[in-house]
Symmetry: D2
């Protein structure tokens, strides 16, 4: 079970979301309170947008809490749109290429969840990626496939529609060849302008997604788990939702994967 946090709004230091809250992502990586795996120590990553259209990307396989480079980076870099992730492997090898977020062009993507039995049909899933995008298939995770399929299906033009196909195709493969739970997705992704999130599952245990507007900061945090115990105003996203966040706007729509 992974943990992630994203932010959109007035530029702030990454550490204000990633490191410093009392239940920050780093703290969660040491001991998560709502999850089955007690530790998230199989790697971490952060993608941030700044003056370039493409995000910066820093990923490594160390435990996030012991990495001085991460601490320094999050203390120095300010951004108005960023994604951060800590990973607990569900079996795939620990490798930088398997750390979230993934990034292709201006898009970044991170994911908490699973595609049931993915290992048994990974080859077929790989085959869905066309030649011209296949060089972006760098690791072996279901998460990266989900992202690449989204790109193939038109993330640029219709993010919700593209991900409904991507999630639907993999969910169908899991039903054909895999096992339950066929699909669980708590995902966040961005093109550098808008922040998107998905909460969905084929059963009744969709990974949680919360969001919260900070008036003092002038921005919104979107997270897999609330960042501070004493903040009452975290909004839980209902299962089966596609979220679009633009600074102070929130749109939450039904998310219905291709059957």
């Amino acid at each position: 079970m992974c943990r992630w946090a994203a932010y959109i709004g007035q530029p702030c230091y990454l550490e204000d979301v990633v490191t410093r809250p009392d239940h920050s992502l780093i703290q969660q990586s040491i001991q998560a309170t709502e999850c089955k795996t007690a530790t998230n120590a199989d790697g971490f990553g952060v993608a941030w947008y700044n003056t370039r259209p493409e995000p910066g990307l820093y990923r490594d396989t160390y435990p996030a809490w012991s990495d001085p480079n991460l601490r320094s980076l999050t203390a120095q870099v300010q951004s108005g749109l960023f994604l951060a992730h800590v990973r607990a492997s569900t079996g795939t090898a620990t490798s930088r290429n398997n750390c979230h977020p993934f990034s292709v062009g201006r898009w970044s993507f991170m994911h908490n969840g699973q595609v049931g039995g993915f290992d048994t049909f990974r080859r077929r899933a790989d085959m869905l990626i066309p030649d011209q995008l296949y060089h972006e298939r760098k690791g072996a995770t279901d998460s990266e496939i989900l992202f690449l399929l989204g790109l193939v299906e038109g993330l640029d033009d219709d993010p919700k529609g593209a991900m409904e196909i991507a999630v639907g195709v993999l969910q169908r493969m899991s039903r054909d060849k895999g096992h339950t739970p066929h699909m669980r997705v708590g995902a966040a992704f961005s093109d550098g302008e808008t922040l998107y999130a998905i909460r969905y599952a084929s059963d009744d245990r969709a990974p949680t997604v919360y969001h919260r507007w900070s008036k003092s900061r002038g921005g919104r945090a979107v997270v897999s788990e609330p960042l501070a115990a004493n903040e009452a105003d975290w909004h839980a996203v209902p299962p089966g939702s596609f979220c679009t966040f633009k600074a102070d706007q929130v749109r939450i729509e039904p998310f219905r994967p291709l059957a």
Copy 2:
């Protein structure tokens, strides 16, 4: 709080002690049951004796459970005397040089515990190491100092006496310049022929040390915490003890650090 396991006896695969028991060191590194820190993911190490007088040494800063090299090494290498350690840093930077076991010549050494306030008198502790041994001071931990002081004080000739001085000197420094708890030691070390262990604390919370003879394996495990939940015959070493293990012999003597 660190975890460690050592073995002396008929050669066996390292994995029989390090990886495979249901409460093996690797399992303990994921979730420890008797300790205050829930995870031990700041590095690991193993020292093993074979045909050379000097031990082999494999240490890294990854979480032990996700390192395929460690898994392969422990599955391949057989040894009749070895030490293994997983580390939860108490503040010192994550660096291979700070991973246990430490090794100088034919000696190897590993430690679970602390010297109260060590950071405030680290320089004075370093000063106790003479020039000719100072090139072996590679990291910044109290554990490495304890080992080097032991060497200076005659580990080769009188292991118990040397460690009583080493522990005593640092304990006194902590009383002068540091804070409580002044000294907690659960340590194991070896010259490649005999396995030694210490359980000691300046207060009443000495880190635990257990040992158990395996008839089937023809060897003894000495550990900071029992390796299997269903084994009834783990012997707890009393606080204030110095242990000498030679295959099937055990000698347990009072350990009285220099006042």
Copy 3:
């Protein structure tokens, strides 16, 4: 351009071949004398056979010359059959999963060379790996594909025949979709009993392969480049050869990839 060395014969310390000769693999990784890339610092690996049917595997992305774990491992472990490799990436990301040797079951495999334009048809090459072996496709290199295709085509029953198909299939793909040089192979691989090597290219620049019997050691080194400048008796394997080494026996046959 990578460098590799293999050994079959009376057990010796890995360091006798990997580290200690004046032109050892480690020295070659610092500065190679016969190659276009001056340094080989994108990772290394060693596979060794001992009491288990499967080889031990130690691979990392550090420069080989600065890794104390490698130095210790090669000083401690003795083996009568092992493979070692230093890597200079030709573009693929630095990742443990892309380091040689690769290993599946009792087989190990390492490679110096290239498949021209592989990146443009990687997906089609991946498609040739059947589902049941696809979980072994862990990285993104042409070398790993060559090995997995060999396994698919019957490495267990007919090593030469299987590799003639594997090399032939990829060479044909390169002719269809890639660019020159279509295929260059200097490879060594083993099932733990016999050591095999291939020297082949689609043009006239096949990566070199040499072998040499050491009477004092009672074993044979098979290498991509001689290990000592002052040894006159290295035998160059002619291009288009498949070599079978069993202790003191050598068989060299024509290697003719499937057209």
Copy 4:
């Protein structure tokens, strides 16, 4: 022999100096043209100043050229004052703690050179660091000692004077206990406002230091070796110099270490 580059002026992307010039630091790390060691692959680091008084710090032990995190960081981060370093170890272990630049408070420091015989008097050099700064002694290099001694001797108030003492004290120790060459220094350091450099040696082979004003960029590069082959206007700093760079101002004074 290490390589370094620093910059002060209008903010630019780190990559404009570190990665992109045809003879950039990264290129130099692959194959240096004016140095005795052919490769610089024992680690790298970058310190950059931005909105905080303290610099950001990113250091790792991978070869700089294969690190995607470094590539991304230097492509994203803009700074008007930064230091970058690639390391070829002269014997000290590869460890993040031994990578340059070092940083304490708002100061950063990097160094190319050596103190003759430092290993034989490292303990005495360590003893010169007072208790209150000793927790900043994290590695084992002569370079870090040089920096910490400078801090002790008043870097904040009189950078030139402080470094004349620091270099002088270590040079004297080398004369007493070490060997020739007693002292070679090509160093750059900064407090976040001004960039300083030293070129000095106890013999006639002081490590080179060059600087060049870029009109198009509105800033100055200060380097151990010119960054582009076709740029004619690199100024060589004479041996025995202390340089002070403030945007478009340059002051070069004699550097006379304490005798």
